[in-house]
Assembly symmetry: C2
């Protein structure tokens, strides 16, 4: 299985064709960043429409079995995800309702503190807040993956400990490999491993070392260093690959409705704009090269299988199983 734990942007027929051509079996798509309940439902409606139009290339997956059926169906399984909990609008009951609508992955918060907890970009990380504890337990109950990629370290550690299911860091790297607020410290990775979670290594220029951006080998070496920290059973792919993103999309992701000032996201004043894709993955079908790249840097075929999808599938199997109970 070849699974990417996070992509974002505007999916269309060409994107789905490229994913299928690359043999990608499952992708978690980002349906929202700051959007509330109604806007989030509109995104789901849009994906339903796309599924009706491009059902020959992809399907919306609700179970691990759905994902496992992707290779034989020759389609990519899409997990519906949100990079923020704004879709719940503070209502615990909405977690179950959005699960019913097919949402399978929700990040506790995006770049800002919210009612669930602290963000990696806040000066002070509150830790997991009262509503955050409620939401995590409800996500556990209904079978939704808790994502802490943009979440602050303290809140992430709280979430790992509080959650009854392993959590995901769908798209980030190890901070000791590349220091950045978006990347995860060694204690976070140790706790993630201890509780059975998975981190998806990002192929996003702003949060990866230059070597990882320049070549597949460099990126696979970064994965190897992440495996040294989190273990071969707890690392996967989470490219953060963005499809068809323009300046308005970056403005929305970074500024939402919360500020009128310039925001750089994972960039900086010296590096304010959209960044080019890493050299080795100018098109997303290049994900098909990762398995070989991992073997080239010393992983066995079995280990590479885990890293390119097996670990994600194990996590999905475990977390989604709750939905059937």
């Amino acid at each position: 299985m070849l699974i990417d734990g996070l992509q974002c942007g505007h999916f269309n027929r060409e994107v789905f064709e490229t994913l299928v051509r690359g043999g990608v079996h499952c992708v978690t798509s980002t349906l929202g960043f700051w959007e509330g309940t109604v806007e989030s439902m509109e995104s789901i409606g849009h994906w339903r429409d796309m599924e009706r139009e491009h059902g020959d290339l992809f399907f919306i997956a609700r179970t691990a079995e759905d994902i496992e059926s992707a290779p034989s169906r020759g389609k990519v399984a899409i997990l519906l995800g949100y990079q923020n909990a704004a879709l719940f609008e503070g209502r615990i009951a909405f977690v179950e309702l959005f699960a019913d609508l097919g949402v399978r992955v929700v990040q506790l918060t995006y770049n800002n503190q919210n009612d669930l907890g602290g963000s990696c970009y806040e000066t002070e990380d509150s830790g997991l807040a009262r509503f955050g504890r409620e939401v995590i337990r409800e996500m556990n109950r209904v079978g939704m993956v808790v994502d802490c990629s943009h979440v602050g370290d303290r809140t992430t550690l709280d979430a790992i400990n509080w959650s009854e299911q392993p959590i995901a860091i769908t798209h980030a790297n190890a901070a000791s490999v590349f220091p950045h607020k978006r990347n995860k410290t060694d204690p976070v990775l140790a706790a993630l491993k201890e509780k059975g979670g998975v981190i998806g290594c990002a192929a996003y220029r702003n949060i990866a070392p230059q070597t990882a951006n320049e070549s597949l080998r460099g990126w696979c070496e970064m994965v190897a260093r992440t495996v040294d920290l989190a273990g071969v059973d707890h690392v996967g792919i989470g490219t953060d690959y963005s499809h068809n993103h323009g300046p308005a999309d970056y403005d929305w992701m970074r500024k939402g409705r919360w500020t009128r000032t310039v925001q750089y996201g994972a960039g900086s004043a010296a590096n304010p704009g959209p960044t080019p894709k890493p050299e080795w993955i100018k098109t997303v079908d290049k994900l098909s090269t990762v398995q070989g790249g991992l073997i080239d840097v010393g992983f066995s075929a079995d280990e590479a299988d885990k890293l390119v999808g097996g670990n994600w599938l194990r996590l999905y199997r475990q977390v989604f199983a709750a939905a059937g109970r």
Copy 2:
């Protein structure tokens, strides 16, 4: 099967106990009148919570098979319904999403004209509007019952003709039996019958003849006159029974957010307030007496079976079947 096509108000444990005691197998509950998307989702969340708390007495039904299982389970099957299309907030995609959340009955409009069509209380009934046509076809596709109880005659006739499935008038009476804007003219009942629909006779004092309010026999005689107009295969029960309604509830139902002036709903200046329940149904478990009452006014046992639930079940079977396709 004993099925009530519409009740409203605040359901609680005592209500469910009374329904079970009365051998009522299925009730469509009203989850909203003027509420938009988020508020409507909150109502669904509330019903999910009630189901977890009182699951020994009721369950939320999604299919005709669910309803048919009610007698052997000793519980009442609840269909989630809305008396307005405000929950969709003008978005065609939300019809499918609310169906996914379990909504099975939606009235095209309540007391006022909306983006779907005209109401029985408007001076001018526009007929089915552009969005109304879209919503009906989408409801047909996803397996939702189109309800025209408070809908104007012209829009109702349009809906009957436009819908690919039979429609419901869940809670109204025949206007030729008791003239009232809320009741349905002979041409509407003839068209309803022609297309396989069902009208649920109301046990609501303001829209029924005095005889129907005074005794079970009188109410069953009203049903018999409705059967003369619509046929024995197209009439059911739709009491409009309200549970635990107080003045604030009537204010909300009648005025919503659309006016500051006094509104009487189905009442009048001479009869402004909440009305007492009909004499024969002071408690809702008295629905158990209807079958015998119908036989007493001349129906065969088979005919009475149809009238107390068989006709609703046939309609539900047909309409809900679309959801499985």
